[in-house]
Amino acid sequence: MGNNTLLAVENLWVERPGAEVLRGVNLTVGYGEVHALLGLNGSGKTSLALTLMGAGGYKPARGRILFDGQDITALSLTERARLGLTLAWQEPARFEGLVAADYLALGMREPSRARIEEAMAAVALSPMVYLGRTVNHALSGGERKRIELAAVYAMRPRLAVLDEPDSGIDVMSFQDIVTLFRRMADEGTSVLLITHRDEMVEMADVASLMCGGAIVNTGTPDEVRGYFAQRCRPHGDLLGSQPWGEEAGGTYQRVVAEEVGDE
């Protein structure tokens, strides 16, 4: 592990009922780095995000996760968060009776109204309109995702794992998203940006490609985009997902799909 490494994932294997969802993942993310993780639906990206965060049911069978040199593989979700690691879920949870201002504040070490308003503005939400809104099902999917991004930004984590942050956000432009992630990086937050859209990779410092529950390529964004466009996207266009998922009788796809949609 180099001196610039904040996160190091070493030979990580995770089994879920019916399938191995991670199969020897190796990955590093540097300090202040925006690292894009590209892959087709079903490649294991969300499983890796949940495993990094320590979510229930994602205990590694093998391998380890090092965060700033500390082995966090056995730590609880809360302990990881308190070390500065957080996750924005692909489909964020809804909370009855919890208003956005309080939701943002509860992840902040020193909550301040200025920071909360800044975070809301950074995701193109009017603080005046949204800070009093309940983070419940009355919000659109896009509004909820933007509040989730604002909460992560307000928290100033050391590593933000963002699972498909660009999907379903209609109002924020691509440039808004780029600006937000760059601001996070400027504040010292490393970003692991999970996406299946190769154009999102452009803004990263480093990119990795995930396939079949493992990292198969790491390099510059251009290199990884090129590999993805030539070798992966045709499979996605043809099958809509990983090619070998069908060969395995669809079990892997089913398990991953259940996890992604798990409420």
């Binding site: 968060a81 996750l87 909370f95 009855e96």
Partner: protein, 319 residues
């Protein structure tokens, strides 16, 4: 006991402190523009009336009878504030009340029931509500009790909502402990009338919570919603029985129940749907069990521990 009596002043101040603990703002009870009544045990300590609102009270052996009338067409600017409670640790308080909301009137009620020293108290409320044609009544009742859990809260309400009338009722017992809570609410709704019943309760230790609500949508286009939010932990129990009847064309009813269970607590929900007209529709949804895992993990990913996360979720649900 008159307002010049030192005993009255002492009791009134004690009730005001309890009222504040229950979430009320005592200054509002001294504001002439706000209709209000303060009842301690079986004594009416204070009332204030505004134009179009009448509050008649009569003290009984164990409580108070109150008749509250809002004249037809009256739009009451500020909610009527009612404060019921007892300062002693033991006793019975029985509030028998009638609400008559005249045609086209609009009024809100903020009711605080406070028993800050309760060890062995029985609080009985028996209410009759009549919401006249096109009238609107919003009623919010919040309870605050001591941590002893030695209190029985037994509110019963029978309501009639006339054509085009609107009734919202929210009952909340989420602070302090209750020994036994038995909420009964029956309402008949006429054509194009609307009723929304919300009940929120938090049961700790050996608390017994029972909610029994019946909504009869009798008129064409009548609408009804029951929303129940209960959290129980330790060895507490909750039983929620809701019945919605769609008895007329275009009647629409929905029952929505969420109960969170922790420790050795037990929760039960029994929704009953009755439809007597082919153009009526009644639905129900219920979620009973542990805290939603994804909600809890989302909060833990912000640095909260499990207990803190559960507390945020439960408090949010109970408002």
């Amino acid at each position: 006991m008159s307002s010049r009596d030192p005993a009255w002043a002492h009791e009134f101040e004690a009730m005001m402190r309890a009222y504040e603990e229950a979430g009320g703002k005592s200054d509002i009870l001294k504001t002439p523009r706000v209709a209000s009544a303060v009842v301690s045990g079986n004594r009416v300590l204070a009332t204030n009336l505004v134009e179009g609102v009448s509050i008649e009270t009569e003290e009984s052996e164990s409580g108070v009878r109150a008749s509250i009338t809002v004249a037809p067409g009256t739009k009451v600017d500020y909610p009527v504030h009612l404060c019921f409670g007892m300062i002693p640790s033991e006793g019975v308080q029985e509030i028998v009340s009638g609400f008559e909301i005249g045609e086209g009137a609009e009024v809100g009620f903020l009711v605080h029931c406070t028993f800050p020293n309760a060890v062995d108290i029985k609080h009985v409320m028996d209410a009759r509500i009549h919401v006249g044609p096109g009238a609107t009544m919003r009623y919010s009742e919040t309870h605050y009790h001591s941590s002893h859990g030695g209190i029985q809260v037994l509110p019963t309400t029978h309501a009639q909502v006339d054509e085009g009338g609107w009734l919202e009722s929210e009952f909340s017992l989420t602070h302090g402990r209750v020994g036994r809570l038995d909420v009964r609410f029956e309402v008949d709704v006429a054509a194009r009338g609307v009723v929304e019943l919300t009940t929120k309760a938090y049961g700790l230790a050996e608390a017994e919570i029972k909610v029994n609500e019946g909504v009869r949508l009798n008129g064409e286009g009548a609408r009804g919603l029951t929303k129940t939010r209960v959290a129980v932990r330790d060895r507490a129990t909750s039983e929620i029985y809701t019945t919605a009847e769609g008895n007329a064309p275009g009647a629409v009813g929905h029952m929505d129940c969420t109960e969170i269970v922790r420790g050795a607590a037990v929760a039960r929900n029994v929704p009953v749907v009755v439809v007597r007209n082919e153009r009526a529709r009644v639905t129900h949804e219920a979620a009973i069990g542990s805290v939603n895992r994804k909600e809890m993990e989302t909060l833990m990913a912000r640095g909260l521990d499990e207990d803190e996360a559960v507390d945020i979720i439960v408090r949010g649900m109970l408002g």
